[in-house]
């Protein structure tokens, strides 16, 4: 799965997510990616999320919307991502990762899986990582 979130100069946010799904999936199986609130969500009032990971468990907790719910309650993108991913792990034993922005340009790339390749560009600087702590 691949995905992106962005904030533009006018403060608009957007998300995009695309996938080939799971290896050797059943014909016709559809995961979280095309489902609003699961594979992604974007609302100028709160922020934007694109997710990746165990599709079925992401759908059970509507991961992207759950993160934005936590941000609505005042949490930062990083805190909201941590809380929602921890909930997904504890409640439905699912692992995954997310990229998140808020309308001010605060961003986060978090994952509960072993790895997630990610990159962020802001103020002419490029940040990137693959393992935890990078």
């Amino acid at each position: 799965t691949v995905g992106a979130v962005a904030v533009d100069l006018e403060g608009n946010v957007a998300c995009a997510t695309s996938t080939g799904g799971m290896t050797n999936k059943m014909e016709g199986r559809v995961g979280d990616t095309p489902c609003v609130g699961c594979g992604g969500y974007a609302d100028n009032h709160i922020g934007a999320v694109s997710s990746t990971g165990h599709g079925e468990t992401i759908m059970k907790v509507t991961l992207s919307r759950l993160i934005l719910f936590h941000m609505e309650q005042g949490k930062s993108p990083e805190e909201a991502s941590d809380e929602a991913l921890a909930y997904m792990k504890e409640r439905v034993h699912g692992l995954g990762g997310v990229v998140v922005v808020d309308p001010k340009g605060v961003w986060s790339a978090h994952f509960s899986s072993l790895q997630m390749s990610w990159a962020a560009a802001q103020q002419e600087q490029l940040h990137y990582g693959l393992y935890h702590g990078e």
């Binding site: 799965t1 691949v2 995905g3 992106a4 979130v5 962005a6 904030v7 533009d8 608009n12 946010v13 957007a14 998300c15 995009a16 997510t17 695309s18 996938t19 080939g20 799904g21 799971m22 290896t23 999936k25 059943m26 014909e27 016709g28 199986r29 559809v30 995961g31 979280d32 990616t33 095309p34 489902c35 609003v36 594979g39 974007a42 100028n44 934007a48 694109s50 990746t52 990971g53 692992l95 995954g96 990762g97 990229v99 998140v100 001010k104 340009g105 961003w107 899986s113 790895q115 997630m116 390749s117 990610w118 990159a119 962020a120 560009a121 802001q122 103020q123 490029l126 990137y128 693959l130």
Partner: protein, 166 residues
């Protein structure tokens, strides 16, 4: 306002010998999308460009390089959402389209629907003049190797899927 773009290339298992190329693709996509934002482009333009680049990159599980279903075929899903209006567009189980993310954007912009699936999505792509690509062109040797490995009757299906997420 601080424009920003953040991209990911998936949370599935990345073997050590593919780590470097996995970094390169997400960095290139973030750079390209950021240049759109810097020149006044919209957040929607930026995220679609970033994801289309990753779909075109055979390293990632989307577009060219997608994993295969049990029949050895490519079925892809994609979603876009615009934070200004909460408009969104999606396609699911779509085949023979190089960039499902661009098709999802067309669903958002050109229809009153939110998601088109399977043959309906393909019909819509034809209506929109989106070229059909041969399925073979989307299948990489790596995807075929993983598919065959998982078909092995001795393979534990749980082990196959653990850590190999979409």
């Amino acid at each position: 306002m601080l424009p920003v773009v953040v991209v990911h290339g998936g949370a599935g298992h990345i073997p050590k010998d593919r780590a470097e190329i996995s970094y390169v693709g997400v960095k290139e996509a973030a750079r390209a999308a950021y240049s759109i934002l810097r020149s006044g482009g919209s957040a929607m333009d930026a995220v679609v460009e970033a994801v289309a680049m990753l779909e075109n990159n055979p390293v990632y599980n989307a577009g060219r390089g997608s994993v295969l279903n049990v029949k050895g075929e490519v079925e892809m899903d994609a979603l876009v959402m615009d934070g200004r209006t909460l408009a969104s567009g999606a396609v699911s189980a779509v085949r023979r389209v190089a960039n499902p993310i661009r098709l999802a954007r067309l669903v958002m912009e050109k229809t009153s629907h939110l998601c088109l699936t399977a043959e309906g999505a393909s019909q819509f792509a034809r209506t929109m003049g989106v070229p059909e690509v041969p399925e073979e062109s989307m299948i990489t040797d790596y995807a075929r190797m993983r598919w065959k490995k998982n078909l092995d009757p001795d393979t534990n299906p749980m082990e196959c899927q653990t850590g190999k997420m979409g």
